[in-house]
């Protein structure tokens, strides 16, 4: 995902001179293609995420579309108020990019586990969350964000994720589910993922859980996109949301709120999210996802 991100950003920056990249002293062996091609539009703000985000908002107020970039919780929680007041409230085109979403940096410990980030970002009224499921969705999300600059949060996993689009870049719209795999054997269930849990959903289906279920992603979601969910949920007998985030404040919780006024639909929703038992544990992403109850 990291490579898809930087390569697509470079390609978009060729056509869009307003794109700038500001990093918080992270991005070794990731950001170099952008730095080499557009040194005048790259800034390392140092280990100072509040200033990084505030100055990104200032640049955005003068016509730039700024991407801030760091790891896990550093570009989100560390500067949450700058995102809330400077970016979101003033509707400025800053895309906060976090690499290491979920438990991708499992061995690095709790400081590097991004398992509450959706909860933070989704309560900001103008914020668009972009949580791609594979490298092609990374490109699709970026294209949407550059065409529609706005306060936004791009949550990347790490590297080496499988691609489920055969390299075809999907056209994505906020709130609209993106079908990865059609249903088989007349199943009317759907596995709905956001972020890097797409691979996990595919594995579940392959090994016979939710046999024949449709698989969809929802890479672009926001407070304002809740209104599109009931009609999509209504087409299925069961919707199983899967996310590498705590249940509280997460994606399933968002979906539950989105359909909460329809008792019939609510019965169809099943949320698979990380248990809080995983907080503070250390290990590989796979091991932690298992301990957190995703497998």
């Amino acid at each position: 995902m990291r490579n898809a991100f930087i390569n697509e950003l470079v390609a978009l920056a060729e056509q869009h001179p307003q794109i700038a990249l500001v990093v918080g002293d992270l991005g070794y062996s990731v950001v170099e293609p952008f730095v080499d091609r557009f040194p005048e539009r790259f800034i390392n703000a140092g280990v100072a995420e509040q200033n990084m985000t505030g100055l990104a908002a200032g640049m955005a107020s003068e016509g730039y579309h700024v991407f801030t970039y760091s790891i896990a919780n550093f570009p989100t929680f560390r500067c949450a108020e700058q995102i809330r007041n400077d970016v979101d409230y003033q509707k400025l085109p800053v895309t906060v990019v976090a690499v290491g979403g979920g438990l991708a940096y499992g061995a690095l410990g709790y400081s590097h586990h991004a398992v509450q980030d959706y909860a933070l970002m989704r309560v900001m009224p103008n914020m668009l969350i972009a949580a791609p499921g594979d490298p092609s969705e990374v490109r699709g999300c970026l294209r949407y964000l550059v065409e529609n600059p706005q306060p936004s949060y791009l949550r990347l996993s790490k590297a080496g994720e499988r691609d489920f689009h055969s390299g075809r870049v999907p056209e994505l719209q906020p709130g609209r589910w993106n079908r990865i795999l059609s249903a088989e054997s007349e199943s009317t269930q759907v596995l709905l993922t956001t972020g890097a849990t797409l691979e996990l959903a595919m594995a579940k289906r392959e090994r016979g859980e939710y046999s024949g279920a449709e698989v969809c992603t929802l890479p672009l979601w926001a407070m304002s996109a809740k209104r599109f969910q009931s009609e999509q949920v209504a087409r299925h007998s069961a919707v199983i949301t899967i996310e590498d985030h705590l249940e509280d404040g997460g994606f399933g919780s968002w979906m539950s709120e989105a359909i909460s006024r329809d008792l019939e639909l609510r019965k169809r929703l099943h949320s698979v999210a990380l248990s809080d038992n995983v907080c503070g544990l250390v290990g590989s992403q796979i091991a932690l996802n298992r301990q957190g109850g995703l497998w």
Partner: protein
Amino acid sequence: MNTYTHQDTGERTSSSLARDIRLDILEMVHRARASHVGACFSIVDALAVLYGRVMKLRPTDPNWEGRDRFILSKGHAAAAVYATLARVGVLPREDLQTYGLDGSLYMTHVSHKIRGVEFSSGSLGHGLPFGTGKALAARSRGLAWRVFVMLSDGEMDEGSNWEALMFAAHHKLDNLVAIIDYNKLQSLATVAETLALEPLAEKLRAFGWSVREIDGHDHAALEANLRDAPWEQGRPSVLVMHTVKGKGVSFMENRVEWHYKSPSDEQLAAACAELMNHYA
């Protein structure tokens, strides 16, 4: 350059502008039963000089691309900025009557939804990073306008300001001018008692900024220094402005409670009389 002309008397001075701004502020905070009159009064003279004498602006076209940018980081002094914008012709003066009232856009922390306001603040430590981003954008694009950021002294407790100080010096943003309203009082007690800032000027110099200290109520000194910035090529400028909280109304000066109180009817009358008397 914009030059203030008083609508009734035709005076063309920043001191008459400052008096008018103070009178407007008094009425606004009295009507709204709002706080922060003391913090407004300590920056009124600087605002009058900036908007009346120094900054490039077009009152009828406040978003004019070539304007200088002003960021109020100490957002609780919003009334001072709204009154200034109204007095120089950016805002209709009757709008001020809605300040802080139900349904008004004029919230008591400065709001970007108001014509002529660049940035919403209210939480401290946000304005300097934001202004730094603007200065960086101007420099990257070869644009000649400057960015002025007004900070409070208590606000210098915020770590985000020191992050921005490092960044702006490192990037040699000499189109950035910070102004610190050093009125020596913060929310509960003096700055010295709360979290000592001294030696402030030395700290700022050590961070790579060009530093000057002046009396923040001396219009000639304000104008000369703000007009001249940058004072050193390749360095951002910071004007440490020694001020009096509540300046202009004797019973409000240097009193912590006027961070919170709004004047009673009698206090309003006394304050207005004192201001008119002083300038008469």
